[in-house]
Subunit: 199 residues, 4 copies
DNA sequence: ACCAGCGGGACATCCCGTTGCT
DNA sequence: AGCAACGGGATGTCCCGCTGGT
């Protein structure tokens, strides 16, 4: 019985722990989308409705929390880029698929969009992983002779640059319903890719 | 004689004032390009070699200094976009000229580039003026039937997005010597403009 | 059990909190009685033996502390003007009772006296409440036909003025043992009240 | 001629000096009447329209300025208590004359009134001189057997207390036209003096 | 006699990370 | 797992008094 109690208690504890952690992460994400102030622990714990000690029980500090936020974002990529993407015939199609997925996600989830923009400023963050994937697709596309731009880094900057700024625009203005399609066509023209038949 | 005294005194004061003010502004600009997030008064006055009181004699506070930095950047635009730009035949040519000027300036002056990137985050700052100019050129180009993209805001986002990200890339990597030309061609393709004959 | 935990925790927290809060308030009150003009946070926390952060944990700032000090003073009035004052037969007797109580309290507790004098400068503070009570008694006395002075505000100024200055005098000089009685008689003569039979 | 020049210049200089000094004093007095802030040199020089160096040319510092302000106030007493006061027959009449003069001055010159109130907090200031004069009159009145109150200090506190508070009241409220007369009668009753036949 | 500019330091405020308790 | 309270320190702001110049 003591054993059962301990096990149940542990399970409950784990669940509670996860819930509080999520509360803190959510509060931090919420605050990151608001205008000016640098994220402060005090603000986070107040927004999350927990005590300071609780924050430091779950995270080492602000850096740790930022890393955790990044991991949360990273996990969302798996949802966006499901394995069936790999079945696509060529690199340009994969790139188009990913670009569209990311843009639609950003438009439908402004909070996620703001976090992505915030994170784009740190080249050492998880944005590196995205860029690496993008570079692979672009390198393949260049090998397949499908691009005018021959410099992989320049091509990546073009794709990322358009994505970031279009997302910023979508946060500030009402967006046309076909914005993702328009933006994608502009990207493909920019890197000099033949238009994909179907998106 | 009193008049001369006042005039001379003012002139001397202005010279001294301008020198110290410039020192502070320069130090602040220098610090803005370095990693850490927040510009602090202590760091600025230490870098500028002046006392805190001197900082507050010249500026109301950090906000005022930011505004002054913005004004300094704004003044640099006049140097880049001289009046002879207006002699260019069509809107696409003017846009190409401005894009190339800005990109070459960013590559040759990394500090200026970093300031521009920092400032791009604040949509209410002087970046608005640049965007307004850009929008004018794009609207004209669309009227002249020279663009595929028909949405001025989207076209502006594309141009600015490529510019910002290419500049970021140039700060982190060695850039090819023909980067401005390549980037310009990508921009023109992206918005669907006919290539200009001469750059 | 969770309930008990929360209750006990709150009780313990309250006790600790109240102790430290009282320390800070006491230190601030002590400092207010000393010469220099301005109450500073540094001086308060040093006198109270706590850290600056602790001060700002308990109070929003200096203004908040001033308000708290005022509330402390206000609470002391309840001790002075107990409900049995209301049993007194007429307004002049009630006024005499309150005046004497306040004056004896001031003489026996110089720190309290200094705080009262300090606070008298702010007409918007809690001194307003005292004045309101005094005005009530005086208005009643005038209605009962017991005063020569017919203007309530003037009468209040006379009573308060004598009280404040006599208290100031008692802080600077040795006071005669029958000072409260003498002062009270002067006040009653000033407003033109018949002498009360018993004080 | 050089001599004449020097003399004239000195005369002009003295005049200018006096004018600037007066400007500073006036600005300081003006600021003292405004609500909360402690008098600061910066505020004074800005209000006076002179430079900081000028302030320190005329005054040693804030303490010196306060002393000068006190002297200015003191000088105003000579205007109020002209020598013909000494011709009055008895001490009570002299006291009544002075009280009325001071009160009428305060009502007609609120700035002067505020300065007096401010200064009353410092027992070492020029208020001491006034109190000394008052004590003389009161002591004489007691000797002449004209007062009920036998303690000179207490009598002085009563007179000063009523004066200060009535003046405070006149600054905050509209005052009845016969306020000085009413207040004087209250004072005389308070100290137990026979009413003077003529004021 | 007056001024512009500056150095140095005091102060209020904010915020991070720790501690002891449950 | 969570909380209330606290210590310590960094930062923005203000302001005094001095300096060199005319």
């Amino acid at each position: 019985m003591a054993k059962i109690d301990a096990a149940r208690r542990a399970a409950i504890g784990r669940a509670k722990r996860a819930r509080t952690r999520a509360q803190i992460l959510e509060a931090a994400a919420m605050l990151l989308t608001e205008r000016p102030v640098a994220l402060t622990v005090d603000a986070i714990v107040q927004a999350a409705g927990v005590a300071k000690g609780t924050f430091y029980y779950h995270f080492q500090g602000l850096d740790d929390l930022s890393a955790a936020l990044g991991a949360t974002l990273g996990a969302s990529f798996d949802d966006l880029l499901t394995s069936d993407r790999l079945d696509l015939p060529d690199a340009v199609a994969r790139l188009s698929f990913a670009f569209t997925q990311f843009l639609e996600k950003a438009i439908s989830d402004p909070l996620w969009a703001r976090l992505m923009i915030q994170s784009s400023k740190d080249p050492a963050g998880f944005a590196r992983g995205i860029r690496a994937h993008l570079r692979d697709d672009l390198a393949n596309a260049i090998e397949e002779g499908g691009l005018i731009v021959q410099d992989v880094e320049l091509a990546a900057d073009i794709v990322i640059g358009i994505w970031l700024q279009v997302v910023r625009g979508s946060l500030e203005r009402r967006t046309a319903s076909d914005l993702p399609a328009q933006a994608l066509r502009a990207v493909l023209r920019a890197v000099g890719a033949a238009q994909p038949r179907a998106e």
